[in-house]
Structures are given as structure tokens and as C-alpha cells.
């Protein structure tokens, strides 16, 4: 655990990618196999689940530190992170331990299955045996909130440096639903046969937002299709079994049981990249409809009829059991079209339509109509491009429609947490209804750190009332908010809910009286809701 804590410190302290990758590569060269395997798991988001409630941990930490619970809470509010608060308030470790990362994760599992008394004793003795940084990491793992400032891509690069393995191959190996309990370092990283896992997905190819249209060359080199607002998914059919993966590598197979019938219509050895959409009468339903399906492990019948889903197929990655990602997009798309065409119209599968165009003007015009089609804009894919792994520039671009915007008045502010603890970063915004300000949304990103600091200083001086961590401030500042969609919502006082609201800019130039009105919002709701 000491080495792992040292690795974490090196990564956490540095803002430089090269330093982080070098630290990880060093670790992968020297750590024991089981610790390396857990490190790969943790760095690719495979955290052990939280099984002990935060409430109990707070109580035990406060008790061990000899402070009242309210004082722990007060401290937690300042620190902004539970595990960090716990590791800071506890008295210094009295024992010493040189147990490994794997040992402590095993200990967390053992305690998860135990009764409350055993858990408490085990956790208190762990806290007592681990010095500060290790205690923090142990508690992070315990609360299921371990995170690290290294992307999976960089972790894979470090792995490739340490093992001399090919990066793309390693990326593929790390996909799927393995855990350190179901595999070994050797099987995951070192064996030559990567096809042992039938459910293993391919790494998703992710696009960046378009930067420079003029750099793309002739429009005829490109294929354009709608960018749908659903859940990106990879549908895998191998040896009669099907799997549906999200981009975040969650297995979603059981959440969308209607897609099981695709087993009857698709040939074995097929992998499709597509979008799961709530869909009826040949048109997508609102994202709200899909939302009702997310997070449900089992789906009641009623919901299946209210919000049926389809797979909107974008791309074909595996055809008749062969990995065809290296073929040009146009070829893959042609094969995909054939496969989809063979399925009956009643099957929950559609080929994502392309937008025919001979020039950029036509595409630009089509893009403007995105919102009417419930799309977020266009996806541009170079006709001769292979299917790459991860987020890459060059061959695929998102050409999203401009966000909807509204000018609103900030009325409440709340402190952020973690990196932005002590800064007021979360705001509630209001629009005018006559001479009343009606709150309608929160937003907490889109400004620079310098702007957040400036607002923080202002908030401290202009607080009207405190409600716990929330401060009501003098209505004064106007912000331009951007959002992707608007829906009616009886739960909100304003009657509307925004999709992906964020701050676009601080309108220093705009007096408060000139902010938008509730009537403006209602008009947008009528047009786009």
C-alpha cells in the first residue's frame, strides 16, 4: 500500500502528463502482479462497491477522534471530501503496516460481508495502522469513491511502456467486464490470445467537436448523419449470446430487454456501434422517455410500451466473427446496411440515415434543422477512415447545433467541492416574472477559475441569507446560459427543466433588468419542448 500511496502522490501532485505516465510505468515495472492488476482495475473505473454507509464511517471516525459528530460535519463541509476528512481528523497511526494494496482491498471485502461490530473493529484497526496518505486511499476505496487524475488512455500508455505491449491491443484487452477476481495479470495483459472473453467490447471511437470546417476538404469525402441524443451503445452477438455495452463500459443488456430479439435477426459474430433511443412511429421520443429507462435493472411492462427502445445502428465493427475496424468507413457502412436490411421492419433496429449532400452549404442547412428531428446536430465521418480507439481528432467530428441560450440572474450560490472547495461555483439562476425573479435552473461550469474567484469574493460580501451551505445573494449579476434542450417539468417552480445547462459567459454588460423572462422560457418550451 505504501508503494501505491507513493504512486498516487506522484500523480496527484503533478499537472504534467509525462510525469504521471512515467510514475505509472515505474509502478508497473516493479509492483507485484496482484497489485498491478488492482491498479489497472482501479484506474479503469473498476472500484469495489461501497458496502458500508457513509453515516457509519462518520460516526466511527468522530468517535475515534473524540469529537462530536457536528464538528466532524462542519469539517467535512470545509474539506469537501469524506475520505479526506476522515483521514485528517483521526489521530496519528499508532501501529505500522506494510501490507499490500491487494491485502487492503481483500480486507474491505471481508469487512463488507461481516456484521457491524466486526466491521467497526476492522476499520478502526485499519485506520490505526495506516499513516495519512495510505489511510486516505484506504478510506477512498472503502467509500467506493476512489478516483485518479489519469485517463484510461494514459494508463494504457504507461502499461504499454512498461510491458512493451502494443497500445491499441492493450486498450482492447482492458475492455469488458473482467475484475481482478475473474482474471489474472497474466491472462489480462500477457497471454497471446485475447479472444477468451466473448462479451469483450471494442474500444469506442469518440469524436471531438468540430473546430475548423474549412480544414475538412470537399464535403464529398465525408459522410454525414444525425447525432442522436440517446445512449451510445455497442451491441455484441457472439455464439448466440448478446451483450450491450455503454460507452462507460457498463453492461446494459438487461436494461433493454427488447433488444434481445435481435439475436433472431442478426448473424452470429456481429458487433454494432449505435445509439439506444426511445423510439416510436419512426421518430425518437424525448430524452426524458429514455431517462425513465436508465437506472432500472428490471423494466415493468408499462414502461416497455411507454418508452420502447431501438438500436440506431451507426457502424459495424465485427462481421461474421472478424474484426473489420481497419476497413474504410464506407465499406463497413455498406456491410452494416446489408445486415440491417435483412432484419424485419418490426425489429428494434434502424440504420442511422445519412444526410445526402454534395456541398457544405447543404450540410449546414441540414444541421440547422437538427432540433426539429430531436437530433443534436450532425456527425461527420471521413469515408475512408478506419474505426479508431478512444477520442481522436481527424476522421470523425461532432458538428453540434449551437446551444439554446438565455440570460439569467444569479440568486443563490454554493461552494464547490474537491478542487473547487472554498470557491462558490454552483449557482441558481432566475428569470423575470413581472417584477419577481423565478428560479429555473442550476449551473456549475463554464467559467474560468479566475472568474470563479472573482465571484467568490463578491458572494462573500453580498450574502443576504445563509441556508446551510447555500447563500442567497443580492440579485445583480447576469449570465448567459447555454443548454441543449428544454422540457416541461411540474417538479420545478418555473415549470421547465433544462438539459445540460452551463454558463457560457458572464454578461458584465447586461443590467439585471434586461435578463430574460419566464415568458421567454415558455416560448422556447413551445418551440423545442
Amino acid at each position: 500500500m505504501k508503494d501505491f500511496a507513493a504512486l498516487y502522490a506522484r500523480i496527484d501532485e503533478s499537472t504534467k502528463t509525462t510525469v504521471k505516465v512515467a510514475a505509472l510505468a515505474d509502478y508497473f515495472r516493479t509492483a507485484p502482479d496482484d497489485d498491478k492488476l488492482w491498479t489497472v482495475a482501479l484506474f479503469s473505473g473498476r472500484r469495489p462497491k461501497r458496502t458500508i454507509t457513509a453515516t457509519r464511517l462518520r460516526e466511527w471516525a468522530a468517535e475515534r477522534s473524540d469529537i462530536p459528530l457536528w464538528l466532524f460535519e462542519e469539517s467535512y463541509h470545509i474539506v469537501g471530501d469524506l475520505a479526506e476528512t476522515i483521514s485528517l481528523v483521526l489521530p496519528d497511526a499508532t501501529a505500522t503496516s506494510d501490507r499490500s494494496l491487494t491485502f487492503w482491498i481483500g480486507e474491505i471485502k471481508r469487512l463488507s460481508a461481516a456484521d457491524d461490530t466486526t466491521r467497526k473493529a476492522g476499520i478502526l484497526s485499519a485506520w490505526d495502522a495506516l499513516p495519512g496518505p495510505q489511510r486516505y486511499l484506504f478510506t477512498k476505496l472503502l467509500t467506493g469513491s476512489f478516483r485518479v487524475g489519469v485517463s484510461r488512455k494514459l494508463m494504457t500508455r504507461a502499461l504499454s511502456q512498461a510491458t512493451d505491449g502494443d497500445e491499441a491491443n492493450l486498450t482492447h484487452r482492458l475492455m469488458g467486464d473482467w475484475t481482478p477476481e475473474t482474471t489474472t495479470w497474466e491472462r489480462l495483459i500477457e497471454t497471446t490470445d485475447p479472444s477468451t472473453d466473448l462479451s469483450r467490447p471494442y474500444p469506442f471511437y469518440l469524436a471531438y467537436g468540430l473546430e475548423d470546417l474549412d480544414a475538412l476538404g470537399p464535403a464529398t469525402d465525408w459522410s454525414a448523419e444525425w447525432k442522436w441524443d440517446g445512449i451510445r451503445g455497442q451491441f455484441i452477438l457472439r455464439e448466440g449470446e448478446h451483450h450491450l455495452w455503454s460507452r462507460g463500459e457498463d453492461l446494459m443488456t438487461d436494461r433493454f430487454p427488447e433488444l434481445a430479439q435481435l439475436r433472431d435477426f442478426l448473424p452470429d459474430g456481429t458487433v454494432i456501434d449505435g445509439e439506444v433511443l426511445a423510439f416510436r412511429d419512426e421518430a425518437p421520443l424525448s430524452f426524458n422517455a429514455l431517462q425513465s429507462r436508465i437506472g432500472r435493472k428490471t423494466v415493468p411492462k408499462k414502461l416497455l410500451t411507454e418508452a420502447p427502445v431501438i438500436l440506431m445502428a451507426y457502424d459495424l465493427l465485427e462481421d461474421a466473427g472478424a474484426d473489420i475496424r481497419a476497413l474504410p468507413y464506407a465499406d463497413r457502412r455498406a456491410r452494416l446496411a446489408q445486415i440491417v436490411a435483412k432484419a424485419p421492419a418490426t425489429a428494434p433496429l434502424r440504420l442511422s440515415p445519412t444526410v445526402a449532400a454534395t456541398g457544405w452549404d447543404q450540410l449546414a442547412a441540414a444541421r440547422e434543422s437538427s432540433r426539429d428531428r430531436q437530433a443534436e446536430g450532425l456527425m461527420l465521418k471521413r469515408r475512408d477512415s478506419p474505426y479508431l480507439a478512444g477520442r481522436r481528432k481527424g476522421d470523425w467530428w461532432k458538428w453540434k447545433v449551437d446551444p439554446l441560450t438565455i440570460d439569467a440572474v444569479m440568486i443563490y450560490a454554493q461552494q464547490g467541492s474537491g478542487r473547487r472547495a472554498n470557491l462558490f461555483t454552483d449557482y441558481t439562476f432566475a428569470v423575470w416574472d413581472g417584477d419577481q425573479l423565478v428560479p429555473f435552473t442550476k449551473a456549475y461550469s463554464g467559467l474560468t477559475d479566475a472568474e470563479f474567484r472573482q465571484i467568490t469574493a463578491w458572494v462573500r460580501k453580498n450574502t443576504l441569507q445563509k441556508f446551510g451551505p447555500v447563500r442567497q445573494v443580492t440579485p445583480e449579476h447576469v449570465f448567459e446560459l447555454g443548454f441543449e434542450g428544454i422540457q416541461a417539468s411540474p417538479r420545478h417552480k418555473s415549470g421547465v427543466a433544462l438539459r445540460f445547462p452551463r454558463m457560457l459567459r458572464w454578461r458584465h454588460d447586461k443590467p439585471m433588468k434586461e435578463a430574460n423572462t419566464l415568458a421567454d422560457l415558455k416560448e422556447m418550451l413551445a418551440a423545442y419542448g
Binding site: 496527484d12 462542519e74 469537501g80 479526506e84 476528512t85 478542487r419
Partner: protein
Amino acid sequence: MADVLTFTESGIYCPAGDFYIDPWRPVDRALITHGHADHSRWGMNRYLATDAAAPVIRHRLGEIDLATIPYGEARRINGATVSFHPAGHVPGSAQIRVEVGGEVWVASGDYKTVADGLSEPFEPVRCHAFITECTFGLPVFKWLEEDVLTAQINAWWAANAAAGRTSIIGAYALGKAQRLLTCVDPSIGPILTHGAVENTNAVLRAQGIALPDTIRVTPEMKAADHPGALVVATPSALGTSWARRFGPASTAFASGWMALRGVRRRRAADRGFVVSDHADWDGLNTAIKETGATKIFATHGYTSAFQRWLAEEGYDAHIVSTEYTGEDMTEEGASATDEDAA
């Protein structure tokens, strides 16, 4: 019995002695705990401070009517008897003991209970009422042992020197900067100082405080002339063109706030060392206990939590609002007052 000290709009006031302690508005007579800007302000008719604090106060406030007093010496001012006792915060810093008719109150200014090798070590003073800061008055603030901290800073400097990088550390010009100078190992490399730090060094050296050799950074200075150097700068100098002259460098901040990961990360320096000239949680509690006082006034910091904690511990605890600022948390960018804060 009337209160020995009262809290007024101008500052802490002693009616029997007709003087103020660390006032923030112009008054006739001011007793000053230490030279930081939030405690020693311009505009008083007469000042009284310790011998050791006087040079810095004069350096900052210029031509003032400043009388001095050694630590521990009792002096009668009207109906009160006052004496100054080491607060361990910065060189010359004092707690001010005021006795009226057998009742003793102590205003502690800013203080730190562990010795730092530079400031006169904190001395507990028995009293009936104690006025305390609580800048770090939450149980998450616990400072490292001085030798552990020193080893961390030296290791960072040595590693940078070995890799051909300059080490730049941001610390307040009065107190923390000199404390760093005193604790680091000068055999690792040359020590360069920002002008604001060096000005304070000069004042302290002139009063006989031993500091290691330092080199003032000048506009024409080249980094290549001082390979492996440690640069002690004001926090506001980091990230500016002033700091960029040193080429490839590793940057660090020295502040009590560096105990919090979120703050450490927001500062975007390579390292954050937990160095404070204020008492940590345990320091505050020990200091209060050792005074024997039953009545406690919390001035600046996490006053509401700290007052509640003390009340639950059985003290007659109160919050007083003052204009003292504590260890400045905002510490951002090009604030010209950085060197004066805390």
C-alpha cells in the same frame, strides 16, 4: 467587576488603561502584538510593541511614535498593568497580558505553540480570560512534526537540484519566508530571495537574528548563474514573468491551507507544503487549556464552530468579530498586499 478588555468598533479596548490592542481604526494609544498588516496598522498616535517586533513595524509603518518593551516586563498604563509574552507566531510576536484589580486577561494576537527555530517560543500565560484566534480551528488541521516537514522540503529541493531545475517556493515575506530559510539545508544549493523577502531579511538581520546567506534576485540575474537554487518568493510572484526567468522550475507553496487537497490542487503549484505560523487544532486546544482561563473569546478563523466546541467543553466561550484576517486563503495572483497579510 467591569471587563478588563472590551470589544469596540476600533478594536480591543482596555477602559482602565485607556489603550487599544491591535486596533483597526486610528486611536491614541495602541499596543501591538506583531508586525503583520492586519494587526499593526497605520494612523495611531502612540504605539507600544516588543523590542523584537519594533524594527519590522517601523520598516512597514515608517515614522511613527513607537515605544518598546522587553518580553516579560510589567508596565503600568493608567489603571492597568501590562506585559508582553512570546506568541511563537513570527519574530517579536507577543501575547499581551493585561491585569486590572487582580483580574487578568490575555489578548494573544496570532500564535503558534510549536517552536520553529526562529520565533521566540510560545509561552502559556495564566489568566482569567483569553482572547484567541482560530484560523485553523477545525480538527482537520494538524501540522506535521517540524523535522518531517523540513525533510520533505529538503528532499524536494535536492531532487530538483539533481534534475537541473530551480525550486521556487512561495511564502509570506515576514515570518514564513525566514522560517523556511532557517529550516532548509543550505548545503543543497544557493538560496535566492524575492526583493520583498530580502527587505524583511535585512531588517531581521540588523536586529541580530541569524539567517543563512541569501542572494537578492535582481532584474539582470540569470538562472544559469545559480544552478540548483532555491528561490524564496512571495506567493503572488509565482506564475508571473518574474518567476519565469528561472526557466525549468518546480514550484511550491508553503501554507497551512496546503493541508487540504482541494486547495493544494487549485493552486496549481507542483507541491504544497503544510507550513503555518498559526496554531493547529491541537495547538489551540492545548494553549487554551494551559492558560487556565474559563472565559474565551474567539476572534478570527472558524469562530462559530470553535466557539461551540469550547462551550461544549465547558468554557464560557464567545465570538468577537474583528478585522483580523488570519492566514489569507485567497492568496491569489498579483495582490500587492500578500507580503503584509496573515
